[in-house]
C-alpha cells in the first residue's frame, strides 16, 4: 500500500458573492501520508473548512484535483462511487457537528452504517454495527447518553457523537474541523487524548485548527494563509 493516502494538487476554490469574486483557495497542494496526524493551521476565514470539505468530497473545487489512494481524482467520481467515498473512506467531523435532531446519539452514529447497506442486508449487520456504535460512544465517554437526542446534549458531547459517527465505518482518513474550537480546556484535552489514541492505533488524521498549541500535537503542521499552504 502506498505511503500517500490523499494527494491534492493545485486546488482552487472561488466563491462569487454579489458579483465579487472571492478567491479562498488559490492553488493548494497537499499530501497526506498514511498513518500521519496532519494539522492544518490558519486564521479564521482563511479557508480551512473549505479545504476540508473539498477533501471530504462535499464540495467541488473551481479547479484542481484530489486523488485518494493513488487512484482517481475524487471529483471525477460519479454518483454511487462518490457516495461510497463520503460514506466509508473518509470520516468528517463538522465544525458545527451537524447531527440529525430527530435521532438519538446511538442512531446518529448508526445511520452511517445503515447507509452502506440496503434494507435487506441490514438485519444481518445490525448487531455488529450496534455493538461498534456502542463501543465508539463508550470510547468517547457517552455510554450513559445513548438515547439522548442532540438537543439534550452539551456542545462537547455533540462533538463527541459527531466523532463517533465519523468513525463508524472505519474510514481511512478522519477529517476533523476545529474539534476543540468550541470547547473548554478540559474537554479539549480529553478529545485530544482520544485523537492520540486513535493515532496510535494507526488512524490517519487531518485536523483543522486555528490554535498553534493544538496544532502542535500532530505529527506535522501546515499553515493556510492567503489561499495557499505553507509547510512547516
Amino acid at each position: 500500500m502506498s505511503e500517500t493516502i490523499l494527494h491534492a494538487t493545485n486546488l482552487r476554490r472561488t466563491f462569487s458573492e454579489a458579483g465579487r469574486e472571492l478567491h479562498v483557495l488559490r492553488g493548494v497542494d497537499l499530501t497526506v501520508r498514511r498513518g500521519e496526524w496532519l494539522s492544518i493551521l490558519g486564521r479564521s476565514g482563511s479557508g480551512k473548512s473549505t479545504l476540508l470539505h473539498l477533501i471530504g468530497g462535499l464540495d467541488r473545487p473551481t479547479s484542481g484535483r484530489v486523488v485518494f489512494n493513488d487512484e482517481t481524482d475524487i471529483f471525477t467520481l460519479r454518483g454511487a462511487k462518490l457516495d461510497r467515498y463520503r460514506n466509508a473512506h473518509v470520516g468528517l467531523v463538522f465544525q458545527q457537528y451537524h447531527l440529525m435532531p430527530e435521532l438519538n446519539a446511538l442512531e446518529n452514529v448508526l445511520i452511517g452504517a445503515m447507509l452502506g447497506r440496503g434494507l435487506l442486508a441490514w438485519p444481518g449487520h445490525r448487531r455488529q454495527a450496534r455493538e461498534r456504535a456502542e463501543q465508539l460512544l463508550a470510547r468517547v465517554g457517552l455510554s450513559e447518553r445513548l438515547t439522548h437526542r442532540p438537543n439534550k446534549l452539551s456542545g462537547g458531547e455533540r462533538q463527541r457523537v459527531a466523532i463517533a459517527r465519523a468513525l463508524i465505518n472505519r474510514p481511512q482518513v478522519l477529517l476533523a474541523d476545529e474539534p476543540t474550537g468550541n470547547l473548554d480546556i478540559d474537554t479539549s484535552a480529553s478529545i485530544m487524548e482520544l485523537f492520540h489514541d486513535l493515532h496510535r492505533e494507526g488512524q490517519t488524521l487531518v485536523m483543522v485548527t486555528h490554535d498553534h498549541a493544538v496544532a502542535k500535537t500532530g505529527d506535522r503542521t501546515v499553515t493556510l494563509s492567503k489561499g495557499k499552504l505553507a509547510g512547516d
Partner: protein, 647 residues
C-alpha cells in the same frame, strides 16, 4: 433501512407532519363536500326533470290536438324499447280554490298508466285516515276508521274519481237526490231511522217514527238543515251507503292537484307538508274539498267556437312531485272528463241541410274522432333516449300517412331533455359555473397541500445535507422524502375522505342539529374541547417537557376526533343528549343553512360519488408528493455543503 428509521422518527417527532396531515384532510374533505353537494343538486335536477315527463313525448303542434291517438298509442306500445305509451290532454284553466283564482296547467291522464311513467301514485300525499282525522276528529276511532275507508278510494287518487259518499258530502245536488230517494223508499228510511233519530232527537229507537221522518224530509223551509243532518248520518254510519235503495251515483271525476297549487298549504321548517297545520291547527290540505275550473274549448279547426265552461270538481288528493314548479302549477284530471270539457271527445254531427226537410231525418252524419295533445312514452330501462326518439319519429310518420286527417307537420317528437330545455339549459349553465368553482377550490386545495409539504421538507434541507455528507445517495434521499410525503399524504387523505364522507352523508342531520339544537351542540363541542384540553395538559404535565409537542399534537387530534365522532353521531347519539336548561335557547337560536321552503328540493343531497372521491384522493396524494418532491429534489441535487448551509 435509514429511510424507514428516519420516516418513523419524522412522523413521530414533529407537529409539522401532523399539521400537514390535517391540512390534507381538510382540503380533501372540503373538495369532497363541495363536489358532492353541488353535483348532487345538478344530478337531482336532471333526474327529477326526467321523471316528470317520461322519456319521449309525441306532441301536437296545435291546441286542437290530433285524432286516432289510440292507434298511435298502440303502435308505440308495440315498438321495441317502449315500456308504455299513454295519451295526455293538456290545457290551461282558471282554477278557483278557496276564493283564490289562479291559472293552472290541467293535464288529462289515464292515472294507472301515468303512474307507471312518472310514479304519480307514489307522489300522492294523503290517505283517507288523514282526511277523517282532520275533518271528523270528534268522532270515535271506529267511525273515523270507517270514514277513512270510504275516502281511501278517492284520496288514493288512483282512479281520479269521486265516490258516492264524497258526492253527497260535497254537492247539494247529490245530497238532494238522497233526500228524494228517502222520501220515496220506505226501506231506505227504515235503515236511516236509528242513526238519524239519534242525531235529531237523541233517541235511537221509537220516537222518530216513519211519519215524523217523512214530514221532516218534506219540510220545504228546512232544506239546508235536512241536507246537513243527512250528511251527518252518513258520516256516523258510512255503512248506510250500501243499503238497498241508496241512489246509485256514477263515479264523478275528481282531480289531484299539485300540493303548492293550494296557496294555503304551507310547509314547515323542514319542508314537510301537513294535512293539519301543526302550529295553528287549521286544515291546510284542499283534499276532500271542491274547486271550480274554467276551461276554454276549441273547435276541431282551432276556433274559439264555444263558450268557456266552468266546472265544479272534487279535489281527490294532493301530489308532491318534488319539483316545486310542477307542484305549483299542475292538476291532474281524468282524460275522458277533460276531453269532454274541451269538446275533444268523439262526436257525431248531422248536417241539417242534407236532411229530409219534413221528417228531419237522414242527414249526412259526420264523425269527429276524439283527440288528445300528447302521447307520453316511457322507455325500457337502458334504452337510449335519442335512438328511441328517432324510431318513434318514424312510427309517427307512418301513422300520419295512414290517416288522411293527420298531417305529418302537426306532430313533433321530442325527448325529455328537449322538453325541459330551458330548465336543463339553466342547469347546464350552472354546471359550467360550478365546474369553474370546483376548479378554483381544487387549485386552492392543491396549492395549500403542496405548500404545506414544501415547507415540511424545506425544513429538512439541512438533514438532507447531513445525509448526503455522510454518503447517502441522492436518489435514496429523494426516495426518503417522497415516501415521507406519501405517508402523510395517504394518512391525511384517508382521514379526509372519511371526514368528507361523514359530513356529506350526515348533512341533513347536521343541519337539523344546527337549526334545532344549536345551543346544545355548542355546549357539547365546548365540553369536548375542554375534555381534550384537559387530557392534553394532563399528558403534558405527566410526561414533562420531554414530548410537549407530541402531546399538543395528540390533543389537537383528539379534539378533531371527538368533534368528528360527534358529527357522525349526530343522528344516532346526539338527539338523545338532552340538556333541559338549554332547550329554550335551542328553540330561539339556530341556523338553517338550507331552507327547503325556498328551493325545489327538501333535502340537501347527501350522496357521495365514489369515482369522484377516488379522483380527489389521487389528486390530494399526488399534490402531497409533488409538494414534497420539489424541495427534496433541489436539496438532494445540491452539493451537500450547500444544503448544510441552508438556514
Amino acid at each position: 433501512m435509514y429511510k424507514l428509521l428516519l420516516i418513523s422518527k419524522y412522523l413521530r417527532r414533529k407537529l409539522a407532519p401532523l399539521f400537514a396531515a390535517v391540512s390534507v384532510s381538510f382540503c380533501t374533505a372540503m373538495v369532497i363536500i363541495v363536489v358532492s353537494v353541488m353535483g348532487g343538486f345538478l344530478g337531482l335536477m336532471r333526474t327529477t326533470a326526467k321523471t316528470l315527463t317520461g322519456d319521449v313525448i309525441v306532441q301536437s303542434q296545435f291546441t286542437t290536438g290530433f285524432p286516432h291517438y289510440d292507434d298511435l298509442t298502440e303502435r308505440l306500445d308495440n315498438l321495441e324499447g317502449v315500456e308504455l305509451a299513454t295519451p295526455v290532454v293538456e290545457a290551461f284553466g282558471l282554477m278557483r280554490l278557496s276564493n283564490n283564482d289562479q291559472v293552472v296547467q290541467v293535464r288529462g291522464i289515464r292515472p294507472g298508466e301515468m303512474s307507471r311513467i312518472i310514479g304519480y301514485e307514489g307522489s300522492l300525499l294523503w290517505t283517507g285516515q288523514d282526511y277523517a282525522d282532520a275533518h271528523y276528529g270528534d268522532l270515535d276511532v271506529a267511525t273515523r276508521g270507517k270514514i277513512a275507508e270510504r275516502f281511501d278510494l278517492m284520496l288514493a287518487g288512483k282512479t281520479l274519481t269521486q265516490p258516492a259518499l264524497m258526492q253527497v258530502l260535497l254537492s247539494d245536488v247529490a245530497a238532494n237526490r238522497l233526500r228524494s230517494a228517502l222520501q220515496e223508499d220506505a226501506g231506505l228510511r227504515d235503515a236511516f231511522r236509528p242513526t238519524l233519530g239519534a242525531l235529531l232527537l237523541g233517541d235511537r229507537e221509537g220516537r222518530l217514527s216513519d211519519e215524523l221522518l217523512r214530514t221532516w224530509l218534506a219540510e220545504p223551509e228546512a232544506e239546508e238543515l235536512v241536507l246537513l243532518r243527512l250528511r251527518g248520518t252518513l258520516l256516523l254510519d258510512p255503512g248506510l251507503l250500501d243499503t238497498p235503495g241508496f241512489p246509485a251515483f256514477d263515479d264523478a271525476a275528481a282531480m289531484v292537484i299539485g300540493v303548492a297549487v293550494n296557496r294555503y298549504q304551507r310547509r314547515d321548517r323542514e319542508g314537510q307538508y301537513h294535512f293539519v297545520d301543526p302550529e295553528t291547527g287549521y286544515i291546510n290540505s284542499a283534499a276532500g274539498t271542491r274547486a271550480s275550473i274554467t276551461l276554454v274549448p276549441f273547435s276541431p279547426r282551432g276556433e274559439l267556437a264555444f263558450e268557456p265552461v266552468r266546472r265544479e270538481i272534487g279535489i281527490a288528493n294532493e301530489f308532491k312531485s318534488g319539483f316545486y314548479e310542477t307542484d305549483q302549477n299542475v292538476v291532474y284530471v281524468p282524460l275522458g272528463w277533460l276531453q269532454e270539457q274541451l269538446q275533444m271527445q268523439r262526436s257525431e254531427d248531422i248536417d241539417a241541410s242534407t236532411a229530409d226537410p219534413f221528417t228531419g231525418e237522414g242527414g249526412t252524419v259526420s264523425i269527429t274522432p276524439a283527440r288528445v295533445h300528447q302521447i307520453v312514452v316511457k322507455a325500457e330501462p337502458g334504452q337510449d333516449t335519442d335512438e328511441l326518439a328517432a324510431r318513434v319519429r318514424r312510427v309517427v310518420e307512418a301513422f300520419s300517412e295512414d290517416h288522411d286527417d293527420v298531417s305529418s307537420m302537426a306532430l313533433t317528437t321530442i325527448t325529455w331533455e328537449q322538453k325541459h330545455g330551458a330548465l336543463l339549459g339553466a342547469v347546464q349553465n350552472e354546471k359550467g359555473l360550478v365546474t369553474f368553482l370546483f376548479a378554483i377550490i381544487s387549485i386552492v386545495a392543491i396549492v395549500m397541500v403542496a405548500t404545506t409539504f414544501y415547507m415540511i421538507v424545506l425544513e429538512k434541507t439541512r438533514d438532507i445535507g447531513v445525509l448526503r455528507a455522510i454518503g447517502a445517495p441522492a436518489t435514496g434521499v429523494l426516495g426518503l422524502f417522497l415516501t415521507y410525503g406519501l405517508a402523510i399524504g395517504v394518512l391525511g387523505t384517508g382521514l379526509g375522505v372519511w371526514f368528507g364522507w361523514a359530513v356529506v352523508t350526515n348533512l341533513n342531520h347536521i343541519q337539523d342539529a344546527l337549526a334545532n339544537r344549536m345551543a346544545t351542540l355548542v355546549a357539547v363541542v365546548a365540553m369536548a374541547f375542554f375534555a381534550a384540553l384537559a387530557v392534553t395538559v394532563a399528558v403534558a404535565v405527566l410526561r414533562r417537557r420531554r414530548q410537549r409537542e407530541f402531546s399538543i399534537g395528540a390533543g389537537v387530534l383528539l379534539f378533531f376526533a371527538v368533534c368528528v365522532l360527534l358529527f357522525t353521531g349526530v343522528y344516532y347519539g346526539f338527539p338523545s343528549i338532552d340538556i333541559p336548561a338549554l332547550a329554550s335557547t335551542d328553540a330561539r337560536i339556530g341556523w338553517r343553512m338550507w331552507d327547503p321552503q325556498t328551493y325545489y328540493f327538501e333535502r340537501i343531497p347527501d350522496q357521495v360519488e365514489w369515482s369522484e372521491v377516488l379522483w380527489i384522493a389521487v389528486g390530494a396524494v399526488v399534490s402531497s408528493v409533488v409538494g414534497a418532491a420539489i424541495p427534496a429534489i433541489i436539496a438532494a441535487t445540491l452539493n451537500p455543503i450547500e444544503a448544510l448551509r441552508y438556514e
